[in-house]
Symmetry: C2
Subunit: 532 residues, 2 copies
C-alpha cells in the first residue's frame, strides 16, 4: 500500500491522486477489518507449526500494574544517529504498516514524532511474525524492542529521518478497532488556501466528523501543536502578571443574578431554586480590588447563552481576566496589558517555533507581527482611517465585523502590525459600568484590542463610585434592584481600577491565523454541540 | 478612643474588655456618622475664616483619568528608617483615627501593612484640617503627602514600627460609608482554641456576616494572607507538573450527560434542551490521554449538587486535576504525585513564611509536617492501625470520617507526618472505572491522600480497556447507554494511565489547620449560599 503523506511531506494532491488514495484507504480498511481474526488464527497456526518467533510477538494482557521492572524506555524524538547500534525499547502507536510476505515496514508514532520500523524473515523472525505486524491495526499501541540502525537513505516519511528500527520483539499493549472513523493523514492534509472549503472535499475531514471523534482528531501533529500552544498562552499570561505582583483568584461560576443585564445567560436548577452561570468574572474581579488585592487575574470558564453559530463564538470558553487598581490614569492599566501581550507574543514566537511551524504547515498563514511597544490608536483615528477607505459611519457607532476586519488590513498596511489597541470608545456602545471620559461626555475610558483585525480583548476603566454607577445604570435603564449588591460593593472605599477580559481560544486562533474557534478549543461548546 | 488591637498585637481580651470595646465602637460609629456633614460644614467655615490649610486637604473629585503626572508613590511596606527625612506620597485606607482638638493620629493601611500618621496644629496645619482628618471614615481611601520621621518610641500598633508620617496634605480619593457592617479588628481577633464557638461571641464576627460582607472581610490581614497562599498552591502545582512535561488543558463544564452515574449533578437549561454541570474533568482528562497528550493537568471549577452542609463541602470548588500515562505500574503516577506534594509543601513553607504566620496568629495551629518521600501505607495497614486502636470494621468497608481523623492522629503519633497516602483501597468502595488489583480481586489500584487526617485527593489507575470497563460498569449496574461515549473513547488504543483530583480549598484549609472550607474559598457556594 502506498504511504499517505505525513505532515512532514505534505503536498497539494491532485484530484486524481486523492481518488487513488481514497481507494487505497478503503482497501486498507478492508484489510484492517480482517486483521484481528487473522492475527488470532496466525498465532494458533504458528504454535502448531513450531514458530521460531514464539515469545517475540503477540498481544499482552491488560497492563494492570502487576510488575515493576527497571527497563529503560526510549522516546522516538530521541532516536538519532547517536543511538545507532544500541537496542531500544519504545512504546508507540502504529501509524501505518506496509507488508509483503517476507518483510514489513511499520511507521511508529509518539505524539508528533515518527520513526520507521522494519522486520524481515530471518533466523529469528518468522513469516507469521511478519504477517502479524503487517496486519496490526492503525492506532494500536505497541511495545517494540529493536536495534537502531542508520537508514540507508533518508526516511522522508518520518520525523527521525536518519535512523530506522530493526524490530526484534513487538507486543500489542492496547488495540484499536480496525475501522477508524477518520484517517489521521486526511485530518492532517494541508489546506490550499484560506477560503477553500476543504472540510467537505475528498481526502479531507469534515469539522463535525473531527469533533465527533475528537480523541482521534486530537492525535494529529497539528492538534498536538495547537494545544501545547494553548497551554503556552496561559502560562505566559500568568507568568507575566505574577511577576508584576498580580494575585491569582478564583471566582464563582454559579451566581444568583444575571449581573450584566440578564440576556444571554444560562439558568441552572439549584436545589429548590435556580441560579445562573457567570458570563464573566467582572463583578468578582472588581470585588477583589475593593477588598484590597490591588492586582488580580483569573483563568476560568465563561458562559454565554448566545445563539450565535459563527466562526468565533462559543457558548463556553476560557476567560483570561486581569484587573488592577491604578493611581491617576487608566493608561497605567493599558501599559501593563501592552507589555503583557508583547511578553506572550515573544514567548510564543521564541519558545514554540516547532509548534507554530507545524500548525502553519497544515493551515498556512503569515507569521504574526507585533510592535514593541504596541500600536495604540484612538477610536476616532480608526474611524477616520475607515472613512478614508470609503466606509460611512457615525462617530458614536460601534464597529461592524467587516469594518473591524477592514481596519485590521488598513492598520497592517500602514503600521505593519497584526496587533493593536483601540482606545477611547464612544460611551454609548460600552457597558454601563464604563468610566466616561473626563472631558468629552460622548467618549469613555475604554478600549478593545485586535489581532489580525478581530477583537480579542475588551476592557475599560470601571466606575468605582456608587453614585456615578447608579446614575449610569439608570441611564441604561437597568433594574437597580438586580445590581444592588454590585453597586453596594463600592460603598466602603474602592480604588480607581480597570482591566480587561480575553478569550483564550480567540487569542490562539488569531495568533495562528486559523479560521474557526473550534480549532483552538479542545472540546468546543456551541448552540448545537455539547458532546463529546 | 482606645485603639483596638491589630493582628500584630492580638491578645485574648477579657469579656470586660470586649464590652468596653463594643461601647467604644458604638461611640466611634456615632462619631463617624456625623463626619461627612461635619467635614462639609468645616470646609465651609474654614473658607470663611481664612483657613491656612486650604488646598492641603479635602475630597478629590472622582479619579476619572484626567491627568498623568510623574509623581512617585511609596508603598507602606517600604517605609523604613532609610526614608527618614524624605517626603513621600502614599495612597492608603484609613484604618483608625484618634483625635483631640489640636492633634490627630491616623493609622494608614495598605493590604497587610500599616503605618502611623500624625497631624498637629501648626503654622501650616489648621484646626479645621486636624478635625477633618480626625473625622475621616474608617476604610476611606486617602492620598497623603508626608514627611517620614523616626518614631520616638516603637509604634507597636503598626507594622512599620520605627517610622511615622508627619502629614502635610491629605485628600479623600474614595470615601466609605460611616457605618461598617463589620469591624476589621473584630474580624481579625485571635480565636482561643479549635473548639471555641468564636463566631457568635461578642467582639468576633459571625461567619455569615463575614460572607455577606465579603469585600470588607477579605481586607483582614488573615484573608489577604490566605488568598495569597491559595494562589501559591495553584502556582506550585502548575510549576511542578509543567517542569515534568505535563500539558495544561481546559475541559468543558457544560456536558450532555451526567458521567458518573447521574446523582448530585446540576441541570442547566441549554437553549431548547438541557445539559449538566461537570462533576469532575475525569472523562476529559482521560480523553486527552487517549489523544496522546501523555501527561495533562487542569485547574477549574467543579460542581457537586450535594445537599451537604458540612465544614468541608462546597457545591462549587476549584479542582486541581492531574492525569498521566505510565508504562508498567501505577506507582509511577504515585511517585509523581508524591514529589508534587512535597514540592508544594516546601514551596509554601519557604516562600510564604509571613502569610502562614499571619494566618496562624488569628487561627493558631501546629506547623504542617510532611516527610520526603511521603509516607505510603496500604489500606489494610491503615485498617490494622485502627483495629489496634479499638475500631471495629470490615476489610472491605470504607473509612468513616471519624475513622479518617483517628487514623490521621495515629499516623501523626507513629510517623510524625500530617501528610500520607493510603494505597490499595477495596475495589467495592471505588468508582466502576477503577482498575482492579491484578492479584487480589477484592482490592484495587487506587489511593487517597490525607492531610491532618482528612482526605483531599482521590485517585487510581483507571481502566483503559473498553471490554473490562463494560464488565465493571455492568457489575455496578450502570446504564451502559449513558456512558457509551466514555467507553468508546477506549476503543482506538489507549495507554495505561492514572491520576487524581484535588480540592484546592481543602488542601489549603488542611495545610493551615483551618476549621471551615469557607475560609479558603473567596466566594464560597454551598446549598444555602450563592451570594455575593
Amino acid at each position: 500500500m502506498a504511504e499517505a503523506p505525513t505532515a512532514q511531506q505534505q503536498e497539494v494532491l491532485s484530484k486524481k491522486a486523492q481518488k487513488k488514495q481514497l481507494k487505497e484507504q478503503e482497501k486498507a480498511k478492508r484489510k484492517a477489518a480482517a486483521a484481528v481474526a487473522a492475527a488470532e488464527n496466525e498465532q494458533k497456526a504458528t504454535e502448531e507449526e513450531g514458530d521460531i518467533s514464539v515469545g517475540r510477538y503477540g498481544v499482552l494482557p491488560i497492563v494492570q500494574s502487576s510488575e515493576k521492572t527497571d527497563r529503560v524506555w526510549t522516546r522516538i524524538g530521541d532516536l538519532t544517529e547517536d543511538l545507532v547500534g544500541s537496542r531500544v525499547l519504545v512504546r508507540a502507536r502504529v501509524h501505518t504498516t506496509r507488508a509483503t510476505a517476507k518483510q514489513c515496514f511499520i511507521l511508529l508514532r509518539q505524539q508528533h514524532f515518527t520513526v520507521q520500523g522494519l522486520l524481515y524473515v530471518s533466523d529469528v523472525v518468522s513469516k507469521p511474525m511478519v504477517k502479524f505486524v503487517g496486519n496490526l491495526n492503525r492506532e494500536a499501541i505497541v511495545d517494540v524492542e529493536a536495534l537502531v540502525k542508520a537508514s540507508p537513505e533518508k526516511v522522508t516519511s518520518s520525523t527521525q529521518e536518519n535512523v530506522e528500527l530493526h524490530i526484534e520483539t513487538l507486543f500489542v499493549v492496547s488495540d484499536s478497532l480496525p475501522k477508524l472513523p477518520l484517517q489521521l493523514d486526511d485530518a492532517t492534509r494541508q489546506r490550499k488556501g484560506r477560503d477553500q472549503q476543504e472540510d467537505s472535499a475528498i481526502g479531507f475531514v469534515n469539522q463535525d466528523v473531527r469533533l465527533d471523534n475528537r480523541i482521534i482528531d486530537l492525535r494529529t501533529v497539528t492538534n498536538q501543536a495547537i494545544f501545547r500552544l494553548q497551554a503556552g498562552v496561559c502560562r505566559l499570561f500568568r507568568e507575566y502578571l505574577t511577576s508584576e505582583g498580580f494575585v491569582e483568584i478564583h471566582t464563582p461560576k454559579i451566581i444568583s443574578a444575571a449581573s450584566e443585564g440578564g440576556a444571554n445567560v444560562f439558568e441552572v436548577s439549584y436545589f429548590k431554586g435556580s441560579a445562573y452561570l457567570a458570563q464573566s468574572p467582572q463583578l468578582y474581579k472588581q470585588m477583589a480590588l475593593a477588598a484590597d488585592f490591588e492586582k488580580v487575574f483569573t483563568v476560568g470558564a465563561v458562559f454565554r447563552a448566545e445563539d450565535s453559530n459563527t466562526h468565533r463564538h462559543l457558548t463556553e470558553f476560557v476567560g483570561l481576566d486581569a484587573e488592577m487598581t491604578f493611581k491617576e490614569h487608566y493608561h497605567e492599566v493599558l501599559d501593563v496589558l501592552d507589555k503583557m501581550f508583547v511578553y506572550i507574543f515573544k514567548g510564543l514566537r521564541d519558545q514554540y517555533v516547532t509548534e507554530i511551524a507545524t500548525v502553519h504547515r497544515q493551515f498556512p498563514a503569515e507569521p504574526f507581527k507585533f510592535l514593541e511597544p504596541s500600536l495604540r490608536l484612538t477610536y476616532s483615528e480608526g474611524v477616520e482611517m475607515l472613512r478614508e477607505a470609503g466606509v460611512e459611519m457615525g462617530d458614536e457607532e460601534d464597529l461592524s465585523t467587516p469594518s473591524e476586519k477592514l481596519l485590521g488590513r488598513l492598520v497592517k498596511e500602514k503600521y505593519d502590525t497584526d496587533f493593536y489597541m483601540l482606545d477611547k470608545y464612544p460611551l454609548a456602545v460600552r457597558p454601563f459600568y464604563t468610566m466616561p471620559d473626563p472631558r468629552d461626555p460622548k467618549l469613555s475610558n475604554s478600549y478593545d484590542f485586535f489581532m489580525r483585525g478581530e477583537e480579542m480583548l475588551s476592557g475599560a476603566q470601571r466606575i468605582h463610585d456608587a453614585d456615578l454607577l447608579t446614575e449610569r445604570a439608570k441611564h441604561h435603564k437597568i433594574d437597580l434592584e438586580k445590581i444592588k449588591s454590585y453597586i453596594d460593593s463600592f460603598r466602603f472605599g474602592c480604588p480607581p481600577h480597570g482591566g480587561g477580559g480575553i478569550g483564550l481560544e480567540r487569542v490562539l486562533m488569531f495568533y495562528l491565523g486559523l479560521d474557526n474557534i473550534r480549532k483552538t478549543s479542545m472540546f468546543p461548546r456551541d448552540p448545537k454541540r455539547i458532546t463529546p
